[in-house]
């Protein structure tokens, strides 16, 4: 083996060949990794629509809190006002139950009051409120992609 080349230093051509070679290899590796991750990010979701109709306003008596199973939300009617509260615990995604004092998560015991604020337990945030409007055919229309403040109502 000839060891003498190691002492000669690197020629200009050798430096560029080496640098460009490594840059190309690193770029190819990074591009492949990014491409593979992007491939795994779904572009279309086959999940239930976040926008749904919850029937006629008359279906919900005054002062009622109705749990909609499929949508995992509570529809709250007080007088002429409608609001919609998420039933998904902000802690680890379990479905909360309505109890006398508010809402209770069965998984880790978080307790929320009627406004969805955390009273106790590990939940980091209050339950989310969703936008409620009235559709053209006079149905309660809930949009789970629109988060609103708890003081926002649909007034009939």
């Amino acid at each position: 083996m000839d060891h003498s080349t190691a002492d000669k230093g690197v020629s200009r051509r050798g430096f560029f060949q080496l640098t460009l070679g490594w840059l190309a290899a690193i770029f190819a590796a990074c591009a492949s990794a990014v491409g593979a991750v992007r491939f795994l990010v779904p572009n279309v979701l086959f999940e239930p629509s976040l926008l749904f109709k919850a029937g006629k306003p008359e279906d919900y008596p005054d002062g009622s809190v109705t749990f909609l199973e499929e949508e995992r939300v509570f529809l709250v009617r007080q007088g002429n006002t409608f609001r919609c509260l998420s039933a998904i615990c902000t802690h680890l995604g379990c479905t909360v139950n309505r109890t006398g004092q508010g809402y209770h998560c069965p998984c880790h015991g978080s307790l929320f009051d009627d406004q969805g604020s955390v009273k106790s337990g590990p939940a980091p945030r209050s339950l989310e409120w969703f936008s409620v409007t009235l559709s053209k055919d006079s149905r309660v229309l809930v949009d789970k992609s629109q988060r609103v403040n708890p003081d926002k109502y649909l007034v009939l």
Partner: protein, 428 residues
């Protein structure tokens, strides 16, 4: 001449042209031939031809690493069989479980073996890690093999966790819901990680097929490769750790120091920490039969134990997954219940910071604790501080896991397991 008939047939076959082409060394008759067989056979050469007597002592290694390997092999065998029936679809997965239970010949047994071997593997990989810690076996030159071992422990958890979803029952569905939401608390990447893992926002068809692909090919392939490197490093780092080890035996020869007028054999350049170097020959015995016999015996014991569990206890299967009704309480798999207990106090601290710090500490351990004292002995007095810290962490983990598994009833409230649980409140 009065050898039993199978042996006579074997000996005849060995001498044929075909037999000689398959077996490079015939059935060995002497220690020399056995040693030759050990180094020239693909399946045997991962092991040394001669092995130190100390390494054979069951009271030293307890065979925990081997048991973990055997459980992995059982999981591959039963898992491949289960794949012939399993369909990763939310419409079919649960029905396949019922078929395996009631229709497929030995289907129940295969599923039970797979489930119990998976649980046992988590336990035995952890025990193996404890053994290596308490005997100081992670020290130079075995630092990197310890790091590989930490990786294999995490892979074991990942394999178990991804397999947990596949039956698509209530247990599976909610354990994965809770588990992936814990992952979502990771800083910066958490919510994207959850989205990528589930292939969406909810545990559904996309999540099932992703977990399936991870469970049957990605993670087993990575784990298999890492196990191979792990075993290879055990050989290259000088076999099992022993108290009388000289440490770094031969330094690698710098190429520039060699005269250029001479040609070299490979053995002159290789690093010399093979088990043979610097050892008294009387400390060593031939691996065939002393090591092989013990390995085969242990394999039989492991298979027997898994079969025993699988015959007498069925793997749990709850009602089909139902996204509307979480069970009360909803629990992660048992090996994550310590984590879930921590998460019930604070999701960020319990779910991200504590496990993150623990894993980092495990990875960095051999590079922080560098004193070569007390290697190769259980609970060496020189290592009292390290052993105490490790034991405290271990006890906390075990206590948290026991609390999460047995002492948490409906609404995650305190519930002594020997008292009857009150009826869960189900008021919407």
């Amino acid at each position: 001449m009065n050898a039993p008939l199978p042996k006579q047939i074997w000996k005849w076959f060995e001498r044929t042209r075909v037999g000689r082409s398959i077996f490079r060394v015939g059935l060995p008759q002497s220690n020399l031939e056995r040693a030759q067989a050990m180094v020239s056979s693909f399946l045997l050469h991962i092991q040394p031809a001669k092995v130190n007597r100390y390494s054979l002592r069951a009271s030293y290694s307890l065979g925990l690493g081997l048991i973990s390997l055997y459980l992995f092999l059982i999981l591959i065998g039963t898992g491949v069989l289960l794949m012939f029936y399993y369909v990763p679809s939310t419409d079919h997965a649960y029905n396949v479980m019922k078929d395996l239970q009631f229709v497929v010949s030995a289907g129940l047994l295969m599923r039970n073996m797979h489930r119990w071997a998976a649980h046992l593997m988590v336990i035995f990989v952890l025990l193996h890690m404890c053994r290596v810690f308490y005997t100081g076996a992670y020290k130079r030159p075995r630092e990197f093999n310890w790091v590989l071992g930490v990786g294999l422990f995490l892979l074991t958890l990942g394999l178990s966790f991804t397999g947990y979803l596949l039956p698509w029952d209530q247990l599976a569905f909610w354990a994965i819901t809770v588990g992936t939401n814990i992952a979502a608390y990771a800083p910066y990447i958490g919510s994207n990680l959850k989205y990528l893992l589930l292939g969406g926002n909810v545990v559904g068809q996309e999540a099932l097929i992703r977990f399936y692909a991870l469970h049957v090919i990605v993670l087993p392939a990575v784990a298999g490769l890492m196990i191979a490197v792990h075993l290879w490093r055990v050989r290259k780092d000088g076999g099992l750790s022993r108290p009388d080890e000289p440490g770094d035996i031969v330094q690698q020869v710098a190429l520039s120091q060699l005269p250029t007028s001479k040609t070299y054999g490979l053995m002159e350049l290789a690093r010399g920490t093979t088990p043979q170097v610097g050892r008294n020959p009387e400390d060593e015995v031939f691996a065939w039969p002393h090591l092989l016999f013990r390995e085969l015996l242990l394999f039989l014991l492991v298979v027997a134990a898994v079969l025993f569990l699988a015959i007498f206890w069925n793997a749990p299967l709850e009602e089909p997954a139902n996204a509307i009704h979480p069970p009360n309480p909803a629990k992660a798999p048992w090996y994550f219940l310590g984590l879930q207990e921590l998460v019930s106090y604070s999701a960020f601290w319990g779910g991200v910071v504590v496990p993150g710090v623990l894993v980092m500490a495990l990875v960095l351990l051999p590079y922080i604790d560098r004193k070569r004292k007390g290697v190769g002995r259980w609970f060496a007095r020189e290592r009292a501080v390290a052993n105490t810290i490790f034991t405290v962490c271990l006890v906390i983990l075990v206590v948290l896991t026991i609390i999460g598994s047995l002492f948490r009833g409906p609404n995650w409230s305190w519930q002594e397991p020997w008292k009857k649980a009150p009826a869960a409140t189900e008021g919407h």
